[in-house]
């Protein structure tokens, strides 16, 4: 793999190995993610891209037969250290899932529910967060007059942007997106992709996608994974135009996957 220089990494991964029970799903991955850029993880189904993504906020901890070896440094601190506060980690590294999953509550309540449960009571802060988060998720103009109506009345694309608003309300540094558009129609997808471009100004984004055009459209850097190995990592423009590796070339030209 060609050395890809990252000047200001937020997350650095060193020799990461991931096991489901006895079988190894990720075989020693080294990768770093630059601040306030969008990095796409691509690869065929089962290549370990989602698993890798979930290593960055220790979501895999919730699977009890899983095991991680190696290091993931967030701002230089290994998040797999014993002293890591997982709750705090997950606040810093937020996540958006494939299917939008708003609570059956009002739009307003959806955005601040996480804060409210975590014990925050300040109404002013809530109002401010609702506005900034919804603006950040490019949803404010569409919903500002019906903040107190149920979120379940929103369209699929709006729900997904609400989930993004919910994630940014906690004020994370990094946002992980696991195939955020795969359940959306093309128009909503375009809207969310546009949003990802805007979010880049304030957040570091790592997005898993099986859609190569999407990766090409939204990301600054792209990493290609295959069978649990990082095959190639580089600037998106370069990787898609002039891949260094034969496997990468085969994949992006559609010869397999």
């Amino acid at each position: 793999m060609s050395a890809f220089k990252i000047d200001n990494p937020v997350i650095e991964v060193e020799n990461l190995r991931f096991y489901y029970g006895d079988s190894r799903a990720i075989h020693g991955v080294d990768i770093a993610f630059p601040e306030k850029q969008v990095t796409a993880l691509i690869g065929p189904s089962g290549c370990g891209k989602s698993t890798l993504l979930r290593c960055f906020n220790r979501m895999n901890d919730l699977i009890d037969i899983s095991r991680v070896e190696g290091k993931v440094l967030l701002d230089g601190e290994n998040i797999y250290d014993k002293s890591t506060d997982i709750i705090e980690l997950r606040r810093q590294v937020g996540m958006v899932f494939q299917k939008s999953n708003p609570f059956p509550k009002s739009i307003y309540e959806n955005v601040i529910y996480g804060l409210r449960i975590a014990g925050e009571k300040d109404k002013k802060l809530f109002e401010e967060r609702v506005e900034t988060s919804l603006k950040g998720a490019a949803l404010w103009d569409e919903v500002k007059d019906r903040l107190h109506e149920s979120a379940l009345g929103l369209s699929g694309g709006q729900m997904q942007r609400l989930c993004i608003a919910r994630a940014i309300a906690v004020n994370p540094k990094v946002i992980l997106m696991d195939e955020p558009c795969s359940a959306l129609d093309p128009k909503s997808t375009a809207r969310v992709e546009e949003l990802i471009g805007e979010l880049r100004e304030n957040f570091t984004i790592i997005i898993v996608t099986h859609n190569m055009q999407q990766a090409a459209r939204v990301s600054d850097n792209t990493a290609f994974l295959f069978e649990g190995n990082l095959i190639e990592y580089g600037l998106t423009d370069q990787l898609f135009v002039k891949p260094q590796n034969k496997q990468t070339e085969d994949y992006i030209t559609g010869r397999f996957g």
């Binding site: 709750i87 606040r91 937020g94 996540m95 899932f97 999953n101 509550k105 149920s150």
Partner: protein, 292 residues
């Protein structure tokens, strides 16, 4: 050919479904026709004056009132014991237990669910015998013991429904809490339980219905025919299902048998009342969850 098969399967499943209405209809009609005429002040309170009977100032003989109170208390106590335990175990199984331990636990719950109620009653009875022989010579079958055994009887249903309700939430729904930086406890209580509340309450309602109707457990653990109103946790008591059993087995006159049908009707109404109470509670909970 396949069209014929289609029609056959359709009609068969239709008939099979209709049979449910038929059975319920016949049952209700039968109970109503025999039981309704017996519903009267006398059925509930016998010769005793109503108000004094209700407040227990006068002893009620050969009537339903003490059995109604007994059954209500029994169900209430069994519920108070079993519901928090059952839901908590369900939460543990769904959200905390590691897989090998979970298998053992689930098997134990299934075993408990498969235990016939008479065995549960025998267990209670044996417990009292043991206590009498050892450190509590005064111990006797009582309302508390019957409630405990009933609680054991309905516990597995509660555990199952809670566990299944929580586990059947979409995977991603289970991950929202952690992804927002909430602790496991916060996730369980503020996201998962409210979302699963509907199904859990359904389980609670069924379990309570089961507790109200069971006769075998209480027969060995403290119910008697003419106990009057229950005198506290350690006293004997009467209960509706036992009264039905007792009247049907030992009636002296057709009128007495008919009063058994009346009693059955009352038990049915009481269970219905419990169900609708639980339903109302469920609606309130859902409304609250959808509000804030």
């Amino acid at each position: 050919m396949s069209r014929l098969l289609d029609i056959c399967v359709y009609s068969w499943s239709w008939l099979a479904t209709i049979k449910i209405f038929l059975v319920i209809g016949c049952l209700l009609w039968f109970l109503l026709s025999r039981g309704l005429p017996t519903l009267s002040k006398e059925l509930f309170f016998g010769d005793a004056p109503v108000l004094q009977a209700i407040f227990g100032q006068v002893r009620v003989w050969d009537a339903l009132w003490p059995a109604c109170v007994g059954t209500l208390l029994l169900v209430l106590l069994a519920g108070l014991i079993a519901v928090p335990l059952g839901i908590a175990s369900g939460i543990y199984l769904a959200c905390y237990a590691s897989s090998p331990f979970k298998r053992i636990l689930s098997m134990s719950v299934e075993l408990l669910a498969g235990t016939p109620s008479i065995v549960m009653g025998l267990f209670g009875f044996a417990l009292i015998l043991f206590l009498r022989d050892t450190f509590l010579p005064e111990a006797n079958t009582s309302l508390l013991l019957a409630s405990l055994c009933l609680a054991l009887l309905i516990l597995p249903y509660l555990i199952f429904t809670t566990q299944v309700a929580l586990e059947s939430l979409a995977d991603e729904y289970q991950l929202i809490g952690p992804s927002l930086g909430l602790t496991q406890v916060q996730t369980v209580f503020h996201i998962l339980l409210p979302a699963a509340g509907r199904s859990i309450l359904g389980g609670v309602v069924l379990a309570i219905g089961r507790a109200a109707e069971d006769t075998a457990v209480i027969m060995l653990t403290g119910v008697i025919a003419n106990a009057g109103l229950p005198h506290g946790l350690f006293g004997k008591f009467e209960a509706l299902p036992f009264r039905i059993y007792y009247l049907a087995a030992e009636y002296q006159s057709p009128a007495e048998l008919n009063s058994a049908y009346g009693t059955a009707l009352v038990l049915l109404a009481l269970t219905g009342l419990l169900y609708s109470g639980a339903f109302a509670l469920h609606k309130t909970l859902e409304w609250q969850w959808n509000q804030h």
